[in-house]
């Protein structure tokens, strides 16, 4: 009846996951009770859960990423503490628990923090920057988000029901095969990623289509803001790379469920095939994450320097070069597998070539600052912090791309420090910069600058105190994923890294405080103009938060930095009080398709993990039926009458005029 599931699946003998699970459960119940008692449920259902508005979905992606950042961060804290005390002792985490933690940490941070954070920002911003009303497939967008949330839910479920993978975040066979990992851990891993992978793929398809097909009048490719370009590059990579991940995990699952032999030791299976396939996805994945961050920094550096981006066309070229080359370097993840010197050298050099367009980007940001009037608001702090940190990560990255150097650095703590250097220093700093920068646009009020700056300085310092010691430990021969060790020379560095982790945690607390303080002071921080940073692209041309239809009129773009252009040339027109002719606007209706579909996908995923076959069929039919019902819909749009559009837009225009006339007075 319940497959492999019985009471022994609950880890009654392990206090840490049980207590953590209980706290989370109480938290969720408390929030749910509050929502129901206060009568917010209908609001949540109509305005958020079933929403197909790209801005709402973007915000929900970012909320998911933030919550999961706390989960992944807790794992990181536990690992740092373990390695600080597990010298000549077992520490406080037994291997089967420690191994789950580092596997979950990697999986969560990549798939459920970094991915939803950047996809959330792309969702929120790209349609606004392109001057359009929504993404190409609004309901599919909602489906994509909810399937990602399903994956996150399943990963967290493994904390209290069963176990998570103990194989590392890429679950290399044969260790992840049925023979060596007979538990449900790898199944939790694989099914979570299969389900959320579908979500990511549809998000990628959606964004590619949006950028290619839905640009406002005059928005040529070479007038698009840099963030749209990097979104395009990143989404193209998603569309090309995620199917590889899905296929690879499908083969692993066939091995585990149906006795296939793709990656087993026996019967002609080959683990080297898995290594190649997973990295053929895994390396582009790095650029899927970091390219949008590059886009964010381009916007931030240009806005806060009061200048257009230096060498825009060069930047476009660099972005697309990275997009293409990133597909040709996967082998550098396993130089030590015994490939010949020619193969190693070619992939090593290809990897270095990526450093060229990346270096160009750094220099172009540098020259954007040159001759600017730089305002050091929080997003700009993150941007400068990123440039300095990312160069160091780039240096160590090129270093491990030199095969003979990689022969002694592969899998070491040096490597761990390197990829955290680029992922924290690049992706996470970028996500935070984007969060600070576009928060006023999404919610209509700015974030508190004092707490924001504190958060930056603690995170920035904490990063170096945590990861410089890991570089050193790597140079001392320390390999990764050690639950305990007996080498005295490593110990002091592990202790310093744990201290750094504490500083990093203070940074995260400051971020939370910033949000709390800002929500409390939201009236004082209110952004009435829609343009709090003196921005340059179209998202600042509408109100904050934007109306559901984004723009009353599709903006007419006449050059790069469309909104800056309008501001400089059309101040006069804005003041002329002309009354535009408003028209009815058709917008997509909200739909519970995404939520219902994800509900059934959760059931199906859980049932597959535990071999509850009747439930698999139930979930599968449910999810499919949801699609069919949606496909047979009669009405998918509703009309916002011209009068309502006019009323909403008039308020926005009034605010802007008062701003412009104020500026004129000065």
């Amino acid at each position: 009846m319940l497959g492999k599931l019985d009471w022994s699946a609950i880890p009654f003998d392990q206090p840490i996951p049980l207590i953590a699970g209980a706290i989370v459960l109480v938290g969720i119940l408390a929030v749910l009770t509050w929502v129901v008692v206060k009568g917010h449920l209908p609001y949540l259902w109509h305005e958020w859960i079933t929403s197909v508005d790209h801005k709402r979905i973007g915000a929900m992606y970012i909320l998911l990423a933030s919550v999961m950042l706390l989960r992944g961060g807790s794992d990181a804290i536990m690992m740092r503490i373990q390695q600080a005390i597990a010298y000549q002792s077992q520490g406080y985490l037994p291997p089967e628990h420690y191994n789950q933690i580092f596997s979950a940490h990697g999986t969560i941070m990549i798939f459920f923090v970094a991915m939803p954070f950047v996809i959330g920002l792309m969702n929120l911003v790209v349609p606004l920057q392109l001057g359009v009303r929504d993404v190409a497939f609004p309901t599919l967008n909602s489906v994509g988000f909810w399937l990602t949330a399903t994956g996150a839910l399943l990963v967290n479920l493994s904390l209290v029901i069963g176990e998570f993978a103990r194989t590392g975040w890429l679950a290399f066979p044969p260790l992840s095969g049925l023979s060596y990992s007979p538990g449900v851990g790898v199944d939790y891993y694989a099914w979570s990623l299969q389900i959320s992978g579908v979500g990511t793929l549809v998000a990628g398809i959606n964004l590619v289509t949006t950028v290619l097909k839905l640009r406002t009048k005059g928005m040529n490719y070479l007038r698009m803001p840099m963030f749209c370009w990097t979104t395009l590059a990143s989404s193209l990579l998603i569309v090309a790379a995620f199917p590889i991940l899905t296929a690879t995990l499908a083969m692993l699952l066939l091995d585990r469920y149906l006795g296939f032999h793709f990656f087993t030791n026996e019967a002609g299976g080959n683990v080297m095939m898995f290594m190649n396939l997973i990295w053929a996805w895994g390396h582009p994945e790095v650029y899927i994450l970091v390219l949008p961050a590059f886009g964010i920094f381009s916007e931030v550096v240009s806005t806060f320097s009061g200048k257009a981006l230096f060498g825009y066309r060069s930047m476009v070229l660099a972005t697309m070069a990275i997009c293409v080359i990133s597909f040709m370097v996967w082998l550098h993840h396993f130089f030590t597998m015994g490939a010949g010197p020619d193969v190693n050298a070619i992939f090593g050099i290809a990897s270095m070539i990526i450093a060229v367009p990346t270096g160009v980007k750094i220099y172009n940001w540098l020259f954007t600052m040159y001759g600017g009037r730089i305002r050091f608001a929080t997003p700009m702090l993150w941007a400068v912090g990123f440039m300095v940190t990312f160069i160091i990560g780039g240096l160590t990255g090129v270093l491990v791309a030199v095969p003979p150097a990689d022969f002694i650095l592969h899998n070491s703590m040096f490597l761990v420090a390197h990829f955290h250097n680029v992922i924290i220093g690049g992706v996470l700093f970028g996500a935070f910069a984007g969060f600070e920068y576009w928060f006023p646009k999404a919610f209509g009020f700015r974030l508190d600058e004092r707490w924001g700056k504190l958060a930056f300085w603690f995170t920035f310092t904490g990063f170096y105190v945590t990861f410089v010691p890991l570089y050193v430990a790597g140079m001392l021969g320390m390999t990764r994923r050690l639950q305990h060790y007996n080498v005295a020379a490593w110990r002091p560095w592990m202790i310093v890294a744990a201290v750094g982790m504490a500083v990093l945690s203070i940074g995260v607390i400051c971020q939370i405080m910033q949000l709390v303080v800002s929500i409390r002071n939201r009236e004082a921080l209110r952004d009435r103009t829609g343009d709090p940073w003196d921005g340059r692209s179209l998202e600042w041309a509408t109100s904050s938060p934007p109306p559901v239809f984004n723009f009353a009129f599709n903006p007419d773009v006449r050059g790069e930095d469309a909104y800056w252009d309008m501001k400089t040339h059309a101040k006069q027109q804005l003041l002329e009080h002309e009354v535009p002719e408003y028209q009815d606007i058709e917008m997509p209706r909200n739909s519970p398709t995404g939520f219902v579909c994800a509900f059934f996908a959760t059931i199906m995923g859980f049932a597959l993990i535990w071999h509850i076959w009747w439930m698999v069929i139930l979930g599968g039919i449910g999810a499919f039926a949801t699609f069919v019902v949606f496909a047979w819909r009669d009405h998918d749009e509703y009309v916002i009458p011209a009068a309502e559009v006019a009323a909403i837009d008039r308020v926005n225009l009034e605010e802007r005029r008062s701003l412009v006339s104020l500026a004129g007075a000065i």
């Binding site: 492999k4 194989t167 469920y257 060498g311 030590t336 015994g338 010949g340 022969f407 592969h410 899998n411």
Partner: protein, 277 residues
Amino acid sequence: MNLLDPQGPVATANSTILVDSVFIMLAIVVPTIFAILAFAFWFRASNPKARFQPDFVYSGRVEMVVWAIPALTVILLGGVAWIGSHQLDPAAPVPGTGSPVRIQAVSLDWKWLFIYPDQRVATVNTLTVPAGAELNFQLTSSSVMNTFFIPQLGSMIYTMNGMVTRLNLRADNEGKLKGMSAHFSGDGFPDMMFDVNVISPLAFPDWVATTAKTDAVLNEDSYKKLMQQGIETGRPTYRLEDPRLFDLIATQHIPPGPGPELISDAGRPHSGGHDAR
């Protein structure tokens, strides 16, 4: 285990390339970081002396320089990578004094077995080698993947079941070193550290002779017991019965080692549920 304190020619070459590459890159990274901080500071909005040039958004000369700097660096480093990859190919010979020592390493769950087919001895978790001689490693795994790595002797390499990888090293100085597995392989992974005793070439035959007198014999049966999952805290030594043992393992004539023992029916550690097959 300091990578910058190499004890053999391979490690010396590895770390030289590492250090050289770092310095080549620092030559442009340091000025760049300095320029970022300097520009950010000088062009701050509150500095009245900084000249505001909002139209400085393109310059062909600057573009050429910014593409050229990283490109030139990469051309230089690409050369280092190409030459280094060939010279330091793990399978490339590392000439030494005296006759080379053949060593067949097998990663087990969770210990290292070192077979000396020519000397007819085998050891677990301790590798004894003569200083100055070329060490020809053939490596495989009894079950999951591992990586054979002695940091101070240089280049690491994967071990995989059903396959043989090759690695040539040399230890130049007598002394004690540490080796490890550098690829996560399960719960006992941290205990896969092993001792490396580099002894004088004159003492090596004595060590072989002493070890060959061990009562314990390594053959197919004792190997199958050894490859069960478990941690070996001692340093057992064996007489090698059949010098072809490694080939039997690598060609899977001896099937891959078993996974964890199944105790109960649920998904908890050390238990597995019903075999889906």
